[in-house]
């Protein structure tokens, strides 16, 4: 057993000043403008005239210690030993000397085998969750489904050919840790939790009852044991109780499906941020490469690329052309399940006589 000198030592966040590329430290708060030199390569120009080059590449997010060391060796050779990651799990090599740019790009593409891209109006790396690799709740995988989908979208990552940037996220349960994106993929459950009554005693039952957003769980006694029961008609299959208590199994390897949502946007540029909306449901959870997901995502991307005006994000394009035409252009069926029945539902109806005919 290890000797612990007893935490917590309350050290807080690492000192970022020690992690800054020298040109970042020198020009901190004094940057003037930036340009995209080619997909995956940016230059930031300081008021001082200093130029810092950034080479952005797609990372697999999950790495062995050896791969991390390989990344470090490249950054030591060409980047003065400094790099960063982005909020979409891309890696950014920081280059102070222009002559290092080409050899660095060669090393990233050939030695690491990581593609350059994810800048400007491209499909960036997919945000994803932990999945079967290491989560306790997933109905699907994440790292693998993202790898398969990015293989299919590799040209969209490496080129800047869309009206605006495309953020995709992929989550393996309805908690949706990867959150909203222009396109979001989530797992959908199709029945109420199946209760293991003999193992409910490991959970705090009042918490299990209280966590249900639909008030569908109530205390019960079965064979003399304290447990809960679920009112089927009230349950909306969200799985909140499963997170609280593993004996409330919400997943099903046979019936779980995937659904794809569109139009999530966090940026405030042009229009206010928006939530993602249901586009297509009932897609099979089909490892190892989830081909049906790729087909649906590519259908959406193709329609957006053809129809979007410059700078329009995917959701802004749909809002302009109308949802009716989005379903026409993608060929996805519009069904009664697309009509919201949540507390926000009335605000999602077309409360006007403005109708495209």
């Amino acid at each position: 057993m290890s000797q612990t000198t007893l935490a917590p030592r309350d050290q807080g966040a690492p000192d970022y000043n020690k992690m800054l590329h020298p040109l970042m430290a020198k020009n901190y708060g004094k940057w003037d403008y930036h340009e995209r030199l080619r997909p995956g390569v940016l230059v930031h120009v300081g008021e001082s005239g200093d130029k810092l080059y950034t080479v952005r590449a797609g990372s697999p997010r999950t790495m062995s210690a050896d791969t991390v060391r390989k990344v470090c060796a490249i950054a030591d050779k060409y980047c003065e030993g400094f790099l960063r990651f982005t909020s979409r799990s891309n890696i950014e090599f920081l280059v102070g000397k222009k002559e290092n740019l080409d050899p660095l790009i060669h090393a990233v593409e050939k030695e690491l085998g990581w593609p350059l891209g994810g800048t400007g109006p491209s499909v960036s790396n997919i945000l994803h969750t932990q999945g079967w690799l290491h989560c306790n709740l997933p109905g699907s995988d994440a790292a693998g489904s993202v790898k398969a989908l990015m293989d299919d979208l590799i040209d969209d990552f490496k080129n800047e050919a869309f009206p605006n940037r495309v953020h995709i996220s992929s989550s393996c349960c309805q908690i949706n840790c990867a959150s909203h994106g222009d396109i979001s993929i989530i797992v959908q459950h199709h029945h109420a939790p199946r209760i293991n009554h003999s193992n409910m005693q490991i959970c705090e039952l009042p918490k299990v009852v209280a966590i249900c957003p639909a008030a569908a769980i109530r205390p019960a006694s079965i064979n003399g044991k304290e447990t809960v029961e679920v009112i089927e008609e009230k349950c909306m299959y969200c799985g909140a109780c499963h997170g609280q208590c593993p004996s409330m199994e919400i997943r099903d390897s046979q019936t779980d499906t995937l659904s794809i949502w569109v139009g999530g946007k966090m940026s405030n540029a042009r229009s206010a941020p928006t939530f993602m909306k249901l586009a297509v449901w009932g897609i099979p959870n089909n490892p190892p490469r989830w081909p049906e997901v790729s087909v649906a995502v590519k259908t959406i991307l193709k329609a957006y690329k053809e129809g979007g005006k410059p700078w329009e994000r995917l959701g802004e394009w749909i809002e302009r052309i109308g949802w009716q035409r989005f379903f026409e252009k993608t060929g996805f069926p519009f069904t009664r399940y697309h009509i919201d029945d949540s507390p926000e539902a009335l605000s999602t109806l077309n409360r006007s006589a403005m109708v495209r005919l």
Binding site: M1, S2, Q3, T4, T5, L6, A7, P8, D10, Q11, A13, P14, Y16, K18, M19, M24, D32, Y33, P60, R61, T62, M63, S64, A65, D66, V68, V71, C72, G81, F82, R84, T86, P115, T129, W132, H134, D141, D151, Q174, I175, N176, C177, A178, A210, I211, P213, C238, A240, G243, Q244, S267, N268, A269, F275, P287, P288, R289, K309, S342, P343
Partner: protein
């Protein structure tokens, strides 16, 4: 069977080795030669792929003095894969802005490899570095080694989560405040809340230097802090003219002027005319013409409240709580931390178990939330005033004789009481 004797058996995962995107399967397979436990991990993952089923359960393990930072995972298949019997994750607080020196990265790789499976993830969805694959003793030793090297862990359970911010002023001309400095300040000031779950439920900060919101704060954090400015933005008319010469007037009209959400831009010759009083700091024109346009000089941030993803009441978007706050001096930062503590106190005193602050506001109403925090209402907090006419006007209700308001006075008493106090 010992880990060393076990052979890789991953036909489905092998299909994730083709294609141009970097494959974690290829990486981990190669690494399994050095760390045999990874063979077990991949074989179990293969079974998940075959059976579309998950084999991890949670449990609780903490470093001494901590209530968070280690996410414990135990395998349902520990009989078959003994190396996965305890295979935990350690959550490491990342450097703000995700900037690294190679020394720091190598240090993480070494600590991860020395004490566990040597798998790292950059980064978790809450911004932290994830180190995977430690047994109980390895988790504690990993935490100890991290501490000794100057790192810290935390951010799981009903606690403050690891903060996350955009690259900010370190490499962006648009950042309206020093996101890295404020992130470090908040992390360090509130580090005990990251270490020990003391809240009714989790609380997340995400910080963005401008309203492009690269840290995805508005729907992914309980308190988004988004950079902005007061007064006019900076316009360099010479560079506006250069932009028009380069891109053409059509481009300016079609992609800048008409895309302004408040129509506050117009053009006179080659001069851009801005009605600054109508600008809502959306950043679009600055994004397109970032050499000619810049945020104004009086900079700070807007604080929003209540973003979170769908569980349990559906999505909540952060909404404006403090339209403008300066974040430059130590005093500014102290004002911010004081304000945050006030919000936490009211939420934790009145929130229900497992209730995010956005859900709390949904339940009690923003009107009550503001009153509880003694914050003056501001028209910038809303899109439009209410449309329902059922309102409890405190000022207009009847008073009691002693001047103290009666709680829920019965209807039949109201008129006479009101008359007596008039």
């Amino acid at each position: 069977m010992s880990a060393k004797e076990m052979a890789l058996n991953t036909p489905m995962l092998n299909e994730l080795e083709s294609g141009e995107w970097p494959s974690f399967v290829t990486d981990l397979k190669a690494y399994s030669k050095k760390r045999p436990v990874i063979t077990q991990l991949l074989n179990q993952l293969e079974e998940s792929y075959q059976n579309r089923w998950n084999y991890w359960q949670g449990k609780i393990i903490n470093a001494p003095g901590y209530g968070g930072g280690i996410i414990a995972r135990v395998s349902d298949k520990a009989d078959k894969y003994p190396g996965l019997a305890n295979f935990h994750t350690v959550r490491v607080i990342e450097p703000p802005g995700w900037v690294y020196s190679t020394d720091a990265l190598r240090n993480l790789a070494d600590i991860s490899e020395k004490n566990g499976a040597g798998i790292l993830q950059f980064h978790g969805m809450t911004g932290d570095v994830l180190l995977l694959g430690f047994d109980d003793a390895g988790s504690l030793q990993c935490a100890e080694d991290l501490m000794n090297a100057g790192w810290d862990i935390g951010g799981s359970g009903a606690a403050l989560r690891t903060l996350q911010c955009c690259v900010g002023q370190a490499r962006c001309e648009m950042a309206c405040y020093d996101t890295m400095k404020v992130t470090k300040h908040l992390t360090d000031t509130f580090i005990h809340y990251l270490h020990r779950p003391e809240f009714v439920y989790k609380f997340k900060f995400k910080l963005s230097g401008c309203s492009n919101d690269c840290s995805n704060s508005i729907v992914r954090s309980d308190m988004p802090i988004i950079g902005t400015w007061r007064g006019a933005m900076q316009v360099n008319q010479a560079k506006v003219a250069e932009f028009i010469d380069e891109k053409g007037m059509d481009y300016l009209v079609n992609n800048v002027l008409t895309r302004c959400p408040t129509r506050c831009l117009s053009v006179r010759g080659k001069e851009l005319v801005v009605d600054h009083s109508d600008c809502v700091r959306c950043m679009h024109c600055i994004n397109v013409m970032h050499k000619a346009l810049k945020p104004g000089k009086d900079r700070g941030a807007t604080i929003l409240i209540g973003g979170h993803r769908t569980l349990k009441i559906g999505d909540t978007m952060g909404s404006v709580l403090v339209p403008f706050i300066k974040l430059e001096t130590d005093e500014d930062l102290n004002n911010l931390t004081d304000f945050i503590e006030k919000v936490w106190e009211f939420w934790n005193d009145n929130g229900m178990d497992h209730e995010r602050v956005g859900e709390f506001i949904y339940r009690i109403g923003m009107m009550t939330f503001l009153k509880g925090l003694d914050i003056e209402p501001d028209a910038r907090m809303i899109c439009r005033p209410r449309t329902t006419s059922y309102i409890k006007f405190e000022e207009l209700g009847p008073s009691k004789f002693d001047g103290e308001r009666q709680q829920n006075p019965p209807v039949w008493n109201r008129e006479s009481e009101a008359r007596e106090t008039m």
